[in-house]
Symmetry: C2
Subunit: 337 residues, 2 copies
């Protein structure tokens, strides 16, 4: 199959550090290459792929604040659309703007909806509902106003996450430093449990970090270790006793949750959004309602078998599982066309 994969242009594909959409787009492209498909990845010029790379943005605009993101974005997307005729299927991982070109092309396009940044963007998905094919990344993230062809969970590269049978001695917060991700709640849980917490992630909300988080850092029990690339990520996730994921929003997926379990590390998460789909409660972590329950659950964390976490992650969130899902989606579309 000739497949064109559109990745965002905010970060490199795969990202050097933060960049979950670019990470999943990369995993889709590389996984499809492994299965023998002819894959063209549309991404920034410094991206890395075993397929063909097509790029019009020389740099990722997320790394270059002097760039005009809108200019980069529309040139990137329009190039992808102008090349549509060369492919059997297009796979959009770049939100709603690409949809608005699909009334003018004839190649079918799959859009993985990596979450709705706001209900205000739903009208675009609604308008193009009938001539597009939507995939949700969790059942919880589906909008009742849209039709979906499938839910395909994000898949990660098993080889990038080392299984560790022995639990470490610290708790980990891994993700954007932002109120919706619950960085402050993670600190509160760790303090009440009397345990060390390592915080790792991109500081997305500077005011929140400086006002709420930084004053609580002490370099000993509450430590901020920066934004991690793949090696450090593997080390931090695998070495933890548990990942804390006390989210304050309906998170459509949680890559770090799947990644932690892939290392054998259980997850304690607030029971919202996709968490009940990601975590087998009592088996690969705990779904809790508040800070107190999170603290209580940590006393039970030794009962979780780390091998179960790994196996659960392989079964549900491996790249192979995801590629099976997307191949089925493409075949369904091409049979129907």
């Amino acid at each position: 199959m000739k497949i064109a994969v559109l990745s965002p242009a905010c970060w490199r594909t795969p990202p050097r550090k933060y960049g979950p959409w670019e990470q999943v787009a990369s995993n889709i492209a590389e996984g499809l290459v492994e299965r023998g498909h002819e894959v063209t990845l549309f991404a920034t010029a410094n991206s890395v792929t075993r397929g063909s790379l097509e790029a019009v943005c020389n740099q990722p605009y997320g790394e270059h604040p002097e760039m005009d993101a809108k200019v980069c974005e529309c040139l990137h997307i329009s190039h992808f659309m102008e090349r549509a005729g060369s492919f059997d299927i297009l796979h959009n991982n770049y939100d709603f703007l690409p949809l608005t070109y699909t009334g003018l092309i004839s190649t079918p396009m799959v859009t993985t909806i990596h979450g709705f940044s706001s209900p205000k963007i739903i009208p675009v998905f609604k308008k193009y509902n009938s001539n597009n094919f939507y995939v949700s990344i969790s059942n919880s993230d589906r909008s009742p106003e849209l039709d979906y062809l499938a839910t395909v969970y994000n898949g990660i590269k098993t080889s990038q996450f080392t299984y560790r049978s022995e639990a470490g001695d610290y708790l980990l917060f891994f993700g954007r430093i932002h109120p919706e991700k619950g960085t402050l709640e993670a600190i509160q849980i760790a303090r009440k449990a009397g345990m060390k917490l390592i915080i790792s992630g991109l500081i997305q909300d500077e005011k929140y970090f400086n006002g709420k988080i930084k004053p609580l850092l002490d370099d000993k029990t509450i430590v901020y270790s920066g934004n991690a690339g793949p090696d450090k990520r593997d080390q931090l996730l695998g070495g933890a006793l548990a990942l804390l994921h006390p989210i304050n929003f309906e998170e459509p997926f949680g890559l770090s949750v799947a990644e932690a379990m892939m290392c054998g590390t259980p997850v304690v998460a607030f029971n919202r959004g996709s968490m009940p789909e990601l975590i087998a409660d009592g088996k690969t972590g705990f779904l809790v309602g508040n800070i107190r329950d999170a603290v209580d659950s940590l006393s039970q964390i030794g009962n979780i078998n780390r091998a179960d976490c790994r196996q659960w992650a392989i079964n549900n969130f491996s790249m192979g599982k995801m590629i099976n899902g997307y191949e089925a989606v493409y075949e369904k579309i091409l049979e129907g066309s």
Copy 2:
């Protein structure tokens, strides 16, 4: 000719008050209707036209900060593009984003470049240079990197601007309150000349207004009169001794300059951007280099014949003149296709 005119969706077309691009798009559409063309105006749903109106944005996002401008914009533009096949010619007045759809349609599109908000947007115009037709609104605003089919000056409705043979007794600043428009310089000129100044326009830069302008207002000699609609605009422009236009940027056109002259009011402008094309120096106003020269020129303002200003504006900046220009552009394109 079946012509589709694309107006921005930030303000109503024509705008209630501020909205120069929407104003010119409206004048183009209405002028073409008068010539007997079949015109469809793509604008916000509350817009007014004697042609057909097509709208997907129920409200102008400039009046509704709760709206997502990007969503509104891309739905508006993609609707226009999906309808392209129904027209002989498309006329884009909405900047660069529409260009990125033109590789996927076959109807020729004219783009009036209403100014470059930044050199960063030029790459989009460059990419689509060869399969689009660009019109500049002044010779001064041309980018050396692009090809142009013509310069067509913005045209205004003669009937909306009442000619007044008698000069008034105040100076006028009319335009966005923004450093690049020189609101502060206008105050300095009026003070040095010992004359009253009325300031009218949208406060685009709040910090500049509150910090630099507001402290100088005294309700007697330096007066801010708000953002004006058509009636108040006619009254303010026609009643002035002169319009002050001490711009600090290469302004691609200056609607208020043409409008003032249409009322018979001469203009004192800093000699930048399109000003030498808009003003006949010494005949319809004065082109000056600095505040002192502006003050000096005001002592000569009585030598300007207000009837000359009116005639110059009719000859160069009337709607009829503009429509002649665009009809010639359309014919040139259709003959060549």
